[in-house]
């Protein structure tokens, strides 16, 4: 037969009804990956793109050169942030199911990727997250009421009712405005970091992107500019195996690790166990130190698993085995850190249950307060006329005219408040 080309179409290892199979995930033993000096050349660091930095071993003891040797107190803080993030997510999902907010996205199973990385940075460092790193808000001490009010589009909404739930921003907390358009934040973080270097500051930037979104050209812009200018930036690629219904093979993960893209641009690429709090902390600390010493950018691939649905508009049972998350070989970040602390003698199941209760109560209290500032259907409401503000710094004549028109229309209709029926369609990103 004459040879001819044939299109390769990636296929995930398992579809609904099949046995989950994660044999494609290459895992190194904990402690096995060497830790190069932060001044090492990109070439010396190349092997890290293929291996996997792991600190917690099977018994959840910290081993090897990447152990960041955190104080138990710090570990407890980390556990608390991750647990709070999870409970917050669970609650908001429930609230969405009750029709009290229009949409939600959980980060279940990926809490370490945000919390551990964020904790290894300075509060002055600037963060450019995607929509799945609410752990960053939590660890930087954001009042959950603020996040809830955003999801409610109520009178205390930081976005003044303009954005779908979870599109937070926090200028004073150094967390950038989340975009609904994938990947845009990645090269913006590089620009922010370039500005820090131009101004001679000590601050660095960090950004997060999904593995699926790394197919966008913005990923390439970020990598090229970061490499060219050796920008002080940490580029986190969150490989949670899924991008809505397509598995990581559709982003190019079948042929190389995502971390290996780093060396292709001349940037260190580190592949890390994203569910290992200590490992994520350690590689972030390493990359941050390197960036602060003019060592330039680092690409970090966090290997993790999207345990939840993509969003409240999604039903993963249509495209992956229902129980796939149970087979995920890197476990759960909250459970693993908890076990580690217990192994250290610094935690117990009782204390954990106690903490969970305390945080649950905290979430409940926050929700109560948030609702008092207005809900989709009742209580105080934002003034729709504010929608014309902030388009430009000063309202242009056409918008002043349109604002007048809407005011007159509302007065004519005697509209007391905007009633807001809930959505009908599925599919929101």
């Amino acid at each position: 037969m004459t040879p001819r080309s044939r299109l390769h179409v990636p296929e995930p290892p398992a579809r609904p009804g099949q046995e989950p199979d994660f044999s494609y995930v290459q895992i190194s033993p904990a402690g096995a990956t060497p830790r190069p000096d932060v001044t090492a050349t990109a070439r010396e660091i190349e092997p890290l793109a293929l291996g996997m930095v792991r600190v917690l071993d099977e018994e959840q003891r910290a081993v090897g050169p990447w152990n960041p040797h955190l104080e138990p107190g710090e570990l407890q803080v980390g556990l608390r942030h991750m647990l709070l993030t999870r409970l917050f997510d669970d609650r908001m999902q429930k609230i969405q199911r009750q029709g009290r907010i229009s949409f939600y996205i959980k980060s279940t199973g990926e809490e370490a990727v945000a919390v551990a990385a964020g904790m290894a940075l300075q509060p002055t460092d600037m963060l450019f997250p995607s929509y799945r790193q609410q752990g960053l808000q939590v660890l930087r001490g954001r009042n959950l009421v603020d996040l809830m009010c955003q999801c409610l589009s109520n009178t205390h909404d930081m976005c003044k009712g303009r954005q779908m739930p979870i599109m937070y921003h926090w200028g004073s907390g150094n967390i950038f405005s989340i975009s609904g358009n994938l990947a845009t934040q990645f090269p913006q973080a590089v620009g922010w970091a370039m500005a820090a270097a131009i101004k001679g500051e000590d601050r660095i930037a960090a950004s997060w992107i999904g593995e699926g979104s790394s197919a966008e050209a913005d990923f390439h812009y970020a990598m090229t500019f970061a490499a060219v200018y050796q920008a002080p930036v940490i580029l986190n690629l969150v490989n949670n195996q899924w991008a809505i219904s397509t598995f990581q093979g559709f982003a190019g993960g079948e042929h190389k690790t995502f971390a290996q893209r780093g060396p292709g641009y001349g940037i260190p690429g580190i592949r890390v166990d994203g569910n290992d709090f200590l490992a994520v902390y350690a590689v972030t600390q390493w990359a941050a130190q390197r960036a602060r010493q003019s060592g330039g950018p680092t690409l970090i691939e966090h290997v993790t698993y999207r345990a939840a649905a993509h969003s409240t508009s999604d039903d993963p049972a249509r495209y992956r085995p229902k129980e796939e998350w149970r087979a995920w070989p890197l476990g759960d970040p909250v459970t693993r850190l908890k076990q580690h602390l217990i192994a250290l003698g610094e935690w117990s199941e009782e204390r954990h249950a106690q903490l969970e209760k305390e945080l649950e109560a905290h979430v409940t209290a926050c929700w109560k307060e948030a609702e008092s500032y207005g809900t989709l259907t009742g209580g105080p409401a934002l003034d729709p006329l504010t929608m014309f503000e902030d388009v430009l710094k000063e309202m242009p004549p056409n918008l002043k005219e349109q604002q007048r028109e809407l005011r007159a229309l509302r007065e004519a209709e005697g509209t007391g408040r905007a009633t807001t029926p809930s959505s009908s369609a599925a599919g929101k990103g």
Partner: protein
């Protein structure tokens, strides 16, 4: 005849074309195994195979660029962009490449790419799931721009788009996917099964591009609308009791000037309606066209009813949406003018 909603009609159009023409391929984010986030490609991969219905990496520029390459190499790609709000990473490939390929090569090369994309608001999608960017495509020469208002037209227009040799950007008003939404979110949703245009032949048929349709004859004023706004205008006309003629533009480029201007010359009054923002919106083109062709027949200044010139705000969807009240006000205003 079958009863179909708009999603099923679009699905049927692709199904028919995949079966009839081996050159047709469907590609886009989540369109393959999953069948699309709005289910528009549900079942197509199972039926026509993985080489005809392709999941793609998340890269709109890549989707449109590779569709162009496929088109140049003899295929007829139907690319889905998951939301019109996410088409911009592919904009350069549309404007600089797809739209100009035939012209710049003096006909030597062309790419018959159809780009389908859901547009419009009303689903609480906020500023990144609600946009109607048709005007930034109608402003580009070398592509056709289409927006259906019902399942029957959706299928017939999509088949025409795929069969044609020119590139088409095909906007799907997502608020119409399940029923003919009349602009009142407080009323229970009406399904397409209760609407005559929810009757859709199962097989092949076409609705020609470049033809508008008078969907409600009348003598007092012409309402020019497309997509969701056709149904909102119908409701507003009913509410006012004004004998308006409603013209569904259907294809924004090339424009059916004849049908539109025959109507306006007859009625002598005109209201233009779209959901997109007003400034430099497609309505400006319609108003200019009417002015050029109907000036001596006009009894009143032409009115535009549009979305405000702001991004689509999540919480104020219904204050933003150019609903029945605003259309009715415009109708009364043109009627009152001497």
């Amino acid at each position: 005849m079958a009863r179909m909603n708009m999603v099923q009609a679009l699905n049927s159009a692709m199904d028919v074309m995949l079966a009839r023409d081996p050159r047709v391929v469907v590609l886009g984010e989540d369109v393959g195994y999953f069948g699309g986030v709005f289910r528009a490609t549900d079942g197509l991969q199972r039926k026509h195979g993985q080489h005809r219905v392709l999941d793609t990496p998340i890269a709109e520029g890549g989707i449109i660029a590779t569709a162009i390459g496929m088109g140049v190499n003899g295929l007829k790609p139907v690319a889905e962009i998951q939301f019109a709000d996410y088409i911009y990473p592919g904009y350069d490939q549309v404007v600089s490449e797809l739209a100009r390929l035939r012209y710049r090569s003096a006909g030597d090369f062309s790419a018959p790419v159809t780009i389908r994309t859901p547009c419009g608001g009303g689903i609480r999608g906020g500023q990144t799931h609600s946009q109607s960017p048709e005007a930034i495509f109608t402003h580009v020469c070398g592509i056709k721009v289409v927006m259906p208002s019902n399942p029957y037209d959706a299928k017939g227009l999509l088949i025409s788009s795929i069969e044609g040799d020119d590139p088409v950007v095909f906007f799907e008003p997502k608020r119409l996917y399940n029923g003919p939404f009349d602009g009142d979110p407080h009323k229970p949703a009406v399904p397409w099964s209760a609407h005559v245009r929810g009757e859709v032949p199962e097989g092949h048929y076409t609705v020609p591009l470049g033809r508008a349709e008078v969907v409600r004859p009348g003598k007092d004023v012409s309402v020019l609308a497309y997509g969701t706004m056709v149904h909102v205008a119908e409701a507003a006309v009913r509410a006012t009791g004004i004998d308006a003629e409603i013209v569904d533009v259907r294809t924004m480029a090339p424009l059916d000037v004849d049908t539109l201007c025959t109507s306006v010359c007859k009625t002598g009054r005109c209201v233009v309606v779209h959901e997109a923002t007003r400034f430099s919106g497609y309505g400006a083109e319609l108003v200019a066209t009417v002015q050029e062709h109907c000036f001596w027949n006009l009894e009143a200044p032409v009115q535009r009813v549009t979305g405000w010139d702001t991004p689509y705000p999540h919480a104020f969807e219904w204050d933003y949406f150019p609903g029945q009240a605003r259309i009715a006000a415009a109708l009364r205003q043109v009627m009152e003018a001497a």
